[in-house]
Every structure is written in structure tokens, then in C-alpha cells.
């Protein structure tokens, strides 16, 4: 079984429980900017980076559509394929908004994913530690931090 890995340890427990109960094949927890905080099921770093960037872009696009039609936000989005479905949703935590990208197969359903996603949101909110003062991002540190994050996500 593909392990679940998290850069922020408080995410790992709730995420493991979610993927087990919902039967999710792939899951990413990330910031709205596409910075991955935890992943389950991915085996290649390049896939994680692509999925995170695309997921963040989709949420950003739908937020603009929501704004155009006078809706505050779309909280969740589901794409249903023949063999897989994608569920993308935004949640609020004490550290700010986070996104969840979930890929599920025919052994699960959007109903199950939605059901256990509600639990995930509750548990992440409860597990989230106190807000830290964020350090400014320095260009020189960016690549080092990115590589460190990817190493954590893939256990290298």
C-alpha cells in the first residue's frame, strides 16, 4: 500500500483515516497557492507538483466564476469519469484555507468521499496547531525548501 506522507505532522492522522474510510486512491492537501502539505497515493514528485498546480488553478478559476455570478464561493467541485472521479474542495483551518484534491475509483463514490471529507475537515480543524508567524519567502531558500518538501512527501 502506498504510504501517506505529510510535511506537517498534524495532517497525517486525519488524512490516513480519510483515505481508509473514503477509499480514496490519491489525495493531496495543499494551500490555495498549490504548496503541498500532505499526500497519499502518489509515487512520483512530478505528478504531485502537476496535480497541485492544476488543482489550485481550478479552485482559483471557479472562485472567479463564483464571483462573476454573485456567489461567495463554490465549496466543492466534482468531476465524474468512467473509472475515476475527482473531488476538489476548500476548507478553513486556523492556519487559513487549505485545499483537498481527492481521486477515487469505482470502489468508492462521491457520496462516500463527501461524507468522510466532512469528518476530515472537522479533524484537521481540531488538530491544527496554533498559528505561527510566517517567515518571508526568500528566493535563495525557495528551491531548497521545495526539495526538502518533496523529500518529505516521498520519504527520501
Amino acid at each position: 500500500m502506498t504510504p501517506t506522507r505529510a510535511i506537517e505532522p498534524w495532517i497525517e492522522g486525519p488524512l490516513v483515516q480519510f483515505v481508509t474510510e473514503a477509499g480514496a486512491r490519491l489525495t493531496l492537501i495543499m494551500t490555495p497557492a498549490g504548496q503541498v502539505l500532505a499526500q497519499h497515493g502518489f509515487t512520483r514528485a512530478v505528478d504531485v507538483m502537476s496535480a497541485a498546480a492544476l488543482g489550485a488553478a481550478i479552485v482559483s478559476s471557479t472562485r472567479e466564476i463564483a464571483s462573476t455570478i454573485g456567489e461567495e464561493a463554490f465549496t466543492a467541485l466534482n468531476h465524474q469519469g468512467i473509472h475515476h472521479g475527482i473531488f476538489l474542495a476548500e476548507m478553513t483551518t486556523p492556519r487559513g484555507p487549505l485545499l483537498a484534491l481527492v481521486v477515487y475509483g469505482s470502489e468508492s463514490s462521491v457520496g462516500l468521499v463527501q461524507l468522510f471529507y466532512e469528518d476530515l475537515v472537522r479533524e484537521l480543524f481540531a488538530a491544527c496547531p496554533e498559528v505561527e508567524q510566517r517567515k518571508p519567502v526568500i528566493a535563495a531558500d525557495f528551491e531548497r525548501d521545495l526539495n526538502k518538501s518533496l523529500a518529505s512527501l516521498f520519504g527520501r
Binding site: 465524474q80 463514490s109 457520496g111 462516500l112 463527501q114 461524507l115
Partner: protein
């Protein structure tokens, strides 16, 4: 909720001991229409019942006993009844332990006729 679906569910919820009736999509586990008591989490019942029905259906086919027509899960303090209808719809009933299952099943069959 459409009048047709309301009628389908009303017949079931009139049976003594029934705490809720739902029409659910079998592949997504989403609620199409429901009539449930306030303390019943309709979305949760729908998602889990659809998952259960799908797996039981596969088990029935695997055991070579044909397609599943009716699922009756008797639990400590209640019962879950599921009946597949055509077009990928499930009729799901949550009931108390002492419900008259035969009567509930009859109303579920009527609901299937209404939704098909």
C-alpha cells in the same frame, strides 16, 4: 422535491417504525429525494447504503445467486432496507427494530413502480 418522488416516499414513511426513506443514486451515493426524521443524517445514510448495496450486489453475483433484489440489514436498534429500482436508483429505508419489514417492503415495491 418532485410530486412523484414525494408520493413514492410518503407511502413508505407512513409505515409504523420507519424513520426515513430516501431515493439514492446507486453509483454516486447521493440523495435524489428524502423524507427523514430530523436526527437522521440523510447524506450519510445514502452514501453508506449505496456503498453497501453495491458491494452486496457484487457478492451476490460472485456467489452466482443472481442480482440483488432486496437488502435487509437488521442491527441492534434498527434496520436498513435497500431495494434497487431501474435507472440506477436505490430505495433506502431506515427503520426501528420492530418495523413490519413485509409492509415496508411492499411500500418500497410501490415506490420502485413510481420512480421507474
Amino acid at each position: 422535491m418532485s410530486e412523484r418522488f414525494r408520493q413514492a416516499l410518503d407511502g413508505i414513511t407512513r409505515v409504523r417504525g420507519v424513520r426515513g426513506a430516501l431515493l439514492v443514486t446507486d453509483d454516486d451515493g447521493l440523495v435524489i429525494a428524502d423524507s427523514v426524521m430530523e436526527d437522521v443524517r440523510g447524506g450519510a445514510v445514502a452514501a453508506l447504503a449505496a456503498s453497501l448495496a453495491t458491494r452486496m450486489g457484487k457478492a451476490a453475483i460472485g456467489a452466482r445467486i443472481g442480482e440483488s433484489h432486496f437488502l435487509h440489514l437488521q442491527a441492534e436498534s434498527g434496520a436498513l432496507l435497500v431495494m434497487p429500482a431501474p435507472n440506477g436508483v436505490l430505495v433506502v429505508v431506515l427503520a426501528e427494530r420492530n418495523v413490519n419489514v413485509g409492509l415496508a417492503r411492499l411500500e418500497m415495491l410501490r415506490a420502485v413502480e413510481v420512480v421507474k
